[in-house]
C-alpha cells in the first residue's frame, strides 16, 4: 500500500447520551423504575453490554460515514465547530475508542497528542515525569534517554527539572508536557489543539516544531480552531460538520468555506424545529444572535463598538421565574465572564407562556482581540431547574483596526490579557520632583 498513510472508509461513531429528564407521571412509576433499573443494569453488565449510567436511551452520531485518504508525508488540518466530530475522529484513529461502523487502515507507527500533560503525576519530579509521560505516549526508554537533554532544553525548565511538578506553574507544566510530546517521532502524528497552551512566544516555538515535523516527511493530522495555525501548517484541510465531511481540499479553500458558510464562527444560530431545539419542559432555545450596533448579524466586530447578544426562546409552561444568561469563553477556553438577565420588568416575575427575546449589550472597548464563544443558558429560579446550556452556540471575532483610539493606543505588537478595557489615565508631573520617601525637594 505504498504512498498511503491513512485510509478511512465510512467511519461512523455513535454515542449514547441518555435522557435529559425522565417524565414520571405517578409515584408508582418512579418507584417501579427505581426497583427495576438496578436489575436491568446488572443484567446488561454481566452480558458484557457496556452502557454506563446512560443506558441505551438516546443516541447521537458523532461521526457519520466519513471517508478520506491521507498520503504519506501529507499535513492535513481538520476544522469544524465544536461538536463537529473532529476529536472523535482523532480518538478513533489513535485507538482510544472504537468506531461503531466502518473502518480505518493505518500504515505506520501512530503517535497522538490529544492532550498534553496527560499522565503527569504531581508528586513526581520533572525528570521522572518525562520518562513516565514518554512511556505513556509510546516512547521507548532508550529513546527517552537519548532525547532527555533536548527535551529539557526545549521545555525551558532546566532549573526545576528535579523538583516535583506540583510546584510548577501551570505554564511550566504545559511547556514540559509539550516538550515531551514534540520529541515523539512516529510516522503518523495526530495532534488535537495543543497549541492552545502557554504564552504566545512558546506557542510560536511549538508551531515551529510542528512545521519541522511536517517537513521531515511525517504524516500529520492536525485539529485546531486557530485558522492562522491551520493555514500555516497544512496544505490540505478537511472541514467537518455534524459528523460529516463538508469540504476537503486546499487549505485556503476549505478555510474560506468554513468562514463564509456560517459553520465556523457562526454569529447566529437557529433551531427551526421546536422538537430538536435545546431545552427542558419549561423553556426552549430557538435562536441566538450576535449583532453590531445597527442590528445586523456580525461575526466580526470592531473592538471599539458595542456588541449585542440576544437569544430567542419559547416558554412552554407559565408560572416560572426565568433567568436567561450568557457565558463567554475565549479561544483558550477561559470563562471570561457571565452575563445574567438584569431586565427589571421580568425580574422575580413569573412569565406567561410565549416567545421571548432577551438581549444584552457588551460595551465597546471591553473585550480583548480574538474569538469569543457564546454559550446561551437558561434556568428557573426557586426551584432551580436548568433548561438549556448550549455550549459555544455562536461565536464572534473582535478586531482592532489600530487607529490609535482603542485600548492599544499606539502599541501595535503582541498584547495579552483576557479583557481589554479602555481606562482613563492621567499624569502628574513635577519637573524637580524626587518621588515618595524623599523630601529634599519639598
Amino acid at each position: 500500500m505504498s504512498g498511503i498513510a491513512i485510509r478511512v472508509e465510512n467511519l461512523s461513531k455513535q454515542y449514547y447520551i441518555g435522557r435529559l429528564q425522565k417524565k414520571y407521571e405517578t409515584l408508582r412509576d418512579t418507584l417501579t423504575d427505581a426497583l427495576v433499573a438496578p436489575f436491568r443494569r446488572a443484567g446488561k453488565l454481566l452480558r458484557g453490554q457496556a452502557t454506563g449510567a446512560a443506558e441505551l436511551d438516546e443516541a447521537i452520531w458523532a461521526l457519520k460515514d466519513v471517508s478520506f485518504e491521507v498520503k504519506r508525508g501529507e499535513v492535513v488540518g481538520i476544522i469544524g465547530r465544536n461538536g463537529a466530530g473532529k476529536s472523535t475522529l482523532l480518538k478513533i484513529l489513535s485507538r482510544i475508542t472504537e468506531p461503531t461502523s466502518g473502518f480505518a487502515d493505518i500504515y505506520g507507527r501512530v503517535g497522538s497528542l490529544l492532550e498534553v500533560g496527560t499522565g503527569f503525576h504531581q508528586e513526581l519530579t520533572g525528570r521522572e515525569n518525562i520518562y513516565l509521560n514518554g512511556a505513556i505516549l509510546g516512547m521507548k526508554r532508550v529513546e527517552i534517554d537519548r532525547k532527555l537533554d533536548e527535551i529539557v532544553a526545549f521545555s525551558e525548565v532546566e532549573k526545576f527539572i528535579d523538583t516535583p511538578v506540583k510546584h510548577y506553574s501551570s505554564g511550566m507544566q504545559m511547556r514540559l508536557a509539550f516538550a515531551v510530546a514534540a520529541h515523539l517521532e512516529p510516522e503518523i502524528l495526530l495532534v488535537d489543539e495543543v497549541l492552545a497552551v502557554g504564552d504566545a512566544r512558546f506557542q510560536r516555538k511549538c508551531l515551529g516544531k510542528m512545521e519541522e515535523v511536517g517537513k521531515a516527511g511525517r504524516t500529520v493530522l492536525f485539529v485546531s480552531h486557530s485558522m492562522p495555525a491551520i493555514t500555516r501548517l497544512c496544505e490540505r484541510v478537511i472541514l467537518l460538520d455534524e459528523g460529516r465531511i463538508v469540504a476537503d481540499g486546499p487549505a485556503h479553500q476549505a478555510v474560506s468555506v468554513y468562514m463564509s458558510s456560517g459553520l465556523g464562527t457562526t454569529a447566529a444560530r437557529e433551531w427551526p424545529d421546536p422538537d430538536k431545539a435545546p431545552g427542558g419542559e419549561i423553556a426552549r432555545l430557538r435562536v441566538v444572535r450576535v449583532c453590531q450596533e445597527d442590528g445586523k448579524v456580525a461575526d466580526a466586530v470592531d473592538i471599539r463598538q458595542p456588541v449585542t447578544v440576544e437569544m430567542g426562546y419559547e416558554v412552554l409552561r407559565e408560572g416560572y421565574v426565568l433567568l436567561p444568561h450568557f457565558h463567554f469563553f475565549n479561544e483558550a477556553g477561559i470563562h471570561v465572564f457571565a452575563a445574567l438577565d438584569q431586565d427589571p420588568n421580568w425580574r422575580r416575575r413569573p412569565r406567561p407562556a410565549g416567545y421571548y427575546v432577551s438581549r444584552t449589550w457588551i460595551p465597546g472597548n471591553l473585550l480583548a482581540e480574538g474569538t469569543m464563544f457564546v454559550t446561551p443558558a437558561m434556568t428557573t429560579l426557586d426551584p432551580n431547574l436548568p433548561q438549556f446550556y448550549e455550549r459555544d452556540a455562536v461565536a464572534f471575532q473582535t478586531f482592532d483596526t489600530l487607529d490609535g483610539d482603542s485600548a492599544r493606543g499606539d502599541w501595535s505588537k503582541h498584547l495579552g490579557g483576557v479583557i481589554r478595557p479602555l481606562l482613563s489615565w492621567d499624569t502628574e508631573f513635577e519637573p524637580n520632583g524626587y518621588g515618595p520617601g524623599n523630601d529634599h525637594g519639598r
Partner: protein, 298 residues
C-alpha cells in the same frame, strides 16, 4: 479494540529511529468495531512492557508520598491486625493454631492476605482513577490493573521482612519447602489480579463496585483460614470445596512452607491454583470484552 496486526511489529530500537519519507512502514493496523469476545492480545501487552514497568514504578514511587510514616504503613496494617487477632482470637477465644504460637501463625497469613486485599482494593479502582489517561492515550488497558497489583509486591516484601524477624524471635526455622514460596506469592497475585480484572471493568460502568469491594474483602477474609486453622475443617470433600477459594491455597502454602504446619496442602493447592487460573482467564476475557467502551463511559 479490534486491531489486527498484519505484519510483524518493528523491533523496539528500529521503531524509535527517525523515519525516512520513502521507507515503507512496517506496521499496518486496521481499526474497526469489534464484536463479542475478543482475543487477549498478550503480544501487544508484551510490547508495552516498558509502560507496564513505568506505571508500576510510578505506583511504588508515589504510594507513600506526603505521609509521615511512609513505607512503615506497609507493615503497620498487617502487624497491628496480628496484635488484635492474637489478643482476641488467640488469648481470649483460644482458637487453635496448629501448634504454632498464635501471633506468628496469624501474621504468616496476614502478610499474603494484605498483599491480596490491597491489590484488589486499588486495582479494582485503577481504571476509574486513571480515567484521564484512558480517555486521552491508547495503550493496552490491561496494563493498569496489572501495574497496580505488581506495585503491591514492594509492600509485601517489607511486611515479609518483619515476618522473618518474628520467626527468628520465635526460633522457627523455615522448612526446605520455603523454595515453593514464590509460587504461593504468584498464586496470591493471580487471584488478586483475576478478581480485579472483573471488578475494575465493572467499575467503569457502575461505581457501585467501589462500595462493594470492602464487603467482598471482609467476607473473603472470614472464608480464608487467617484467624483460624484450616484443620478445623476435617471432612476431605469439604476441604476440597473449601479450597476453591484460592486464598485458602495461598495461606496454607505460606504456613506449610515457612512454619512447617503439617496440613499436607497438596490437594488444596492444586484446587486453589485451578480456581485462581479460572478467575484470571475469565477475568481477562471479560475485561477485554468491556474494554472497547472504557473511553466512552468511564
Amino acid at each position: 479494540m479490534a486491531v489486527k496486526e498484519f505484519t510483524e511489529p518493528q523491533p523496539a530500537v528500529a521503531a524509535s529511529a527517525p523515519v525516512a519519507p520513502d521507507e515503507e512502514p512496517a506496521i499496518h493496523i486496521r481499526i474497526e468495531a469489534s464484536k463479542g469476545w475478543v482475543s487477549l492480545k498478550l503480544r501487544e501487552l508484551w510490547e508495552y512492557r516498558e509502560l507496564l514497568y513505568f506505571l508500576t514504578w510510578r505506583d511504588i514511587k508515589v504510594r507513600y508520598k506526603q505521609t509521615v510514616l511512609g513505607a512503615a504503613w506497609a507493615i503497620i496494617q498487617p502487624f497491628f491486625t496480628m496484635v488484635v487477632f492474637s489478643l482476641f482470637f488467640g488469648k481470649l477465644a483460644k482458637i487453635p493454631s496448629d501448634g504454632i504460637p498464635y501471633p506468628i501463625f496469624s501474621y504468616a497469613a496476614l502478610v499474603p492476605w494484605t498483599f491480596f486485599a490491597r491489590g484488589l482494593g486499588q486495582a479494582s479502582n485503577s481504571l476509574v482513577s486513571g480515567s484521564k489517561l484512558i480517555k486521552k492515550v491508547y495503550f493496552p488497558r490491561l496494563a493498569m490493573p496489572i501495574a497496580t497489583v505488581l506495585g503491591g509486591v514492594v509492600d509485601f516484601a517489607l511486611a515479609f521482612v518483619v515476618l522473618l524477624g518474628m520467626m527468628l524471635a520465635y526460633r522457627i526455622m523455615p522448612t526446605v519447602n520455603v523454595f515453593w514460596l514464590p509460587l504461593f506469592l504468584l498464586l496470591a497475585l493471580i487471584t488478586s489480579l483475576g478478581v480485579s480484572l472483573w471488578l475494575s471493568a465493572m467499575n467503569v460502568q457502575f461505581r457501585d463496585v467501589r462500595y462493594t469491594v470492602p464487603f467482598i474483602t471482609q467476607f473473603w477474609m472470614f472464608a480464608t483460614p487467617i484467624a483460624y486453622p484450616s484443620s478445623l475443617i476435617k471432612d476431605p470433600l469439604l476441604r476440597t470445596v473449601y479450597a476453591i477459594n484460592p486464598m485458602v491455597g495461598v495461606i496454607e502454602g505460606f504456613r506449610w512452607a515457612l512454619l512447617g504446619t503439617d496440613t499436607a496442602p497438596g490437594r488444596i493447592i492444586i484446587v486453589s491454583s485451578l480456581a485462581a487460573l479460572v478467575i484470571l482467564i475469565s477475568g481477562a476475557f471479560y475485561f477485554r470484552r468491556m474494554e472497547r467502551t472504557f473511553a466512552d463511559v468511564v
